[in-house]
Amino acid sequence: MKKNILLITCAFISFMTEAQAPIFPLSDQGWDTIENAYYKDTNNELDSFVGTYIHTEGATTFKIILKKQEMFYNPVTSYYEDRIVGDYQFIKDGVEIVNALDKIEPMISDRVEHLLYGNWILNKCTYMPDGDCILGEKRLNISLVDPNSEEHYGRLIIKHRLINGQQALKGLMFFSLVNPSGPPDRVIVEPDLTWQRRFILIKQ
């Protein structure tokens, strides 16, 4: 009985939170956002990126699992949002460098920090078109974390492609330094995934 009351209370609070938060499409995100608003994937554009994808190049593999997380309260920005979250396994020349897939499988949790996250849909080809951007196609630009370094932050831009009849994502990843400035003799460490990389991820 107590358990039922708790569940009903939680559901009610959740309902009230959603009911009170003003809802905006994801495209309304930008410099000026509204605290406690809900930036919703109103057109379900994120759904097409959900899945498990693998890039293989000899003994090097990059496997990602992407899932959709709805109405996540983002403490970084102080608003609710629908977003893609994911994690990856990176094996370089046969040596496993990163494996965070256990964070995304079997289910996602608000309390777990993922290595891939975001919801910025690129509708135009002005930013990082990378050669073959098709006007009107939806590309996803998300954050990419190197768990072995606090010095870098990365981005991953993915777009849908059909490769030899298989569903695939064509990706461009690149990393930046948290502090690009420093003294002349500064030693700069390269991220595990290298500074910049292009790849094809085949859907599993």
Partner: protein
């Protein structure tokens, strides 16, 4: 032969004595003026709080400053808060004096401007006082009737004694006699004079002639209206001191925009002291089609009393990705230019603003007016950012960082994403950039032509939807 040598050596000896005597006379004439004389030479700078906080000499006093509160000698608050946004430093051969604004409500601001002045003498002795300047008109202060109030020792404690506040007096600078201070001086052979404020070299200083000599009376009082006080034990300046001070009302120097134009135009000068930046920009233009950003950092070098502007030893270097380039910083590094390759936004990012702020924090204050950040875009445009108000820039950058939570990298990633998200929907990146960052204490310039012969300051119109260009003189 021996007789001849004797006279020769005697002559040399006499000549040597004469030269030494003349040298001594010259040295005597170059002896610094005593620190208790009105009218000693001053130079001025605007400082960041970060730089001041890192000073070991005054770190003790700053421990009190960090809580931004002055207290009475019984520990109770005087209700005075220090504003660390914009710190004016006046430097003489005897001391460095730091002037902070005191936080005031709007009603009080209409009547008085209140400053807190922390002075560090060459022997690390610290003295403190506050200045109340009556307001004659907005931005105009009554120096003659300014009131100086003393605080004791290295602690922010108010002296409460029989003399009240009368142990300090102030005398207005004699602007007609040439008592002025050149603020934000940069490279070049400046002569900071208490008689004439003459400038030479690159003539980059901004001048203020508004200020006062604050005098602590000799033991037993003196110039104060209410008598004096006995010197405190161990106070090396118990016999009195004179400190020059100038009102700090937090506003930007009127000449800053003009100076910014001048320092930008100086970048293309081709004399041996100047940077001659155009060939470097031309080289960067050839790199905008590459798959990475490219950058070059610029620095000062002092040789034989002259200050040279030059690229640093790395020259043009490849960044790590299409979104990243290096910016070398240090005491002598004052600027950087980098490409925004094809397929990236032809406008400064939020992180560029942060880097601009960081240059100010790192560079020697003598070169702070020279700081610039430049982008060379694939569409042929070249933009520059200059600081017009460091205090604002620092405040806004910190406000942004505090406005998002998480690790530093998450914050920076998110802040860059937020503005780039707006760029992605923008038909005019200049408008979008200025719409968000026009109040950040940085000014956006665009080169007027391919040869960088002049620059246009870009501003938003009143409606905020169009760019107004103002050409540098």
């Amino acid at each position: 032969m021996l007789r001849k040598s004797y006279f020769y050596y005697a002559f040399v000896l006499l000549l040597t004595i004469a030269i030494i005597s003349i040298s001594s006379c010259e040295k005597d004439s170059l002896e610094p003026e005593p620190h208790d004389k009105i009218g000693h030479s001053l130079t001025g700078h605007v400082l960041s709080y970060n730089r001041l906080r890192n000073s070991t000499v005054i770190s003790g006093a700053l421990q009190e400053l960090t809580i931004n509160e002055l207290k009475s000698n019984n520990g109770t608050s005087l209700g005075i808060q220090i504003d660390t946004t914009r710190i004016q430093m006046l430097e003489s051969q005897f001391y460095k004096s730091y002037t902070f604004q005191i936080v005031q409500d709007s009603i009080e601001q209409e009547q008085f401007l209140k400053n807190y002045v922390l002075t560090v003498f060459n022997d690390s002795t610290i003295t403190q006082f506050t200045m109340d300047y009556p307001v004659l008109a907005p931005g105009v202060y009554d120096i003659t009737n300014a009131v100086a109030r003393n605080y004791s020792g290295s602690q922010l404690y108010q002296i409460q004694n029989d003399c009240g506040w009368a142990e300090l007096s102030s005398v207005e600078w004699n602007a007609d006699g040439g008592e002025c201070v050149e603020t934000n001086c940069n490279s070049g052979n400046h002569t900071y004079g208490q008689r004439g404020c003459t400038l030479s070299g690159s003539n980059r200083a901004s001048r203020t002639c508004t200020g006062a000599w604050v005098r602590r009376c000799s033991s037993g009082g003196g110039t104060g209206s209410g008598g004096g006080t006995d010197p405190e034990p161990g106070d090396p300046y118990a016999d009195g001191f004179i400190v020059g001070t100038s009102p700090n009302d937090g506003t930007i120097t009127q000449n800053v925009q003009k100076e910014n134009c001048k320092t930008l135009n100086d970048l293309t000068k081709t004399d041996s002291l100047s940077l001659n930046i155009k060939p470097f920009i031309d080289s960067l233009r050839l790199k905008t089609g590459e798959d990475k950003e490219y950058s070059i950092s610029f620095m000062k070098e002092q040789r034989f009393g002259e200050i040279y502007n030059k690229p640093d030893a790395e020259g043009i270097r490849a960044g790590t990705s299409r979104n990243e380039s290096y910016a070398t910083m240090g005491n002598l590094h004052y600027g950087q230019a980098h490409t925004h390759p094809a397929g990236t936004y032809a406008m400064f990012s939020w992180n560029d603003l942060r880097v601009l702020r960081d240059y100010y924090d790192e560079v020697n204050e003598n070169f702070s007016q020279d700081i610039f950040l430049m982008i060379v875009n694939d569409d042929g445009t070249v933009y520059a950012l200059k600081i017009n108000d460091y205090g604002k820039l620092n405040t806004e950058i910190n406000r942004d960082l505090n406005g998002v939570s998480g690790t530093e990298r998450k914050k920076i990633d998110k802040l860059n994403e937020k503005i780039q998200n707006d760029f992605s929907d923008s038909d005019n990146l200049e408008v979008t950039f200025l719409d968000k960052f026009k109040d950040y204490g940085a000014t956006l310039y665009e080169s007027a032509d391919q040869n960088l012969t002049n620059w246009n300051e870009l501003q938003l119109n009143e409606a905020g939807d169009q760019i107004i260009e103002r050409q540098c003189d």
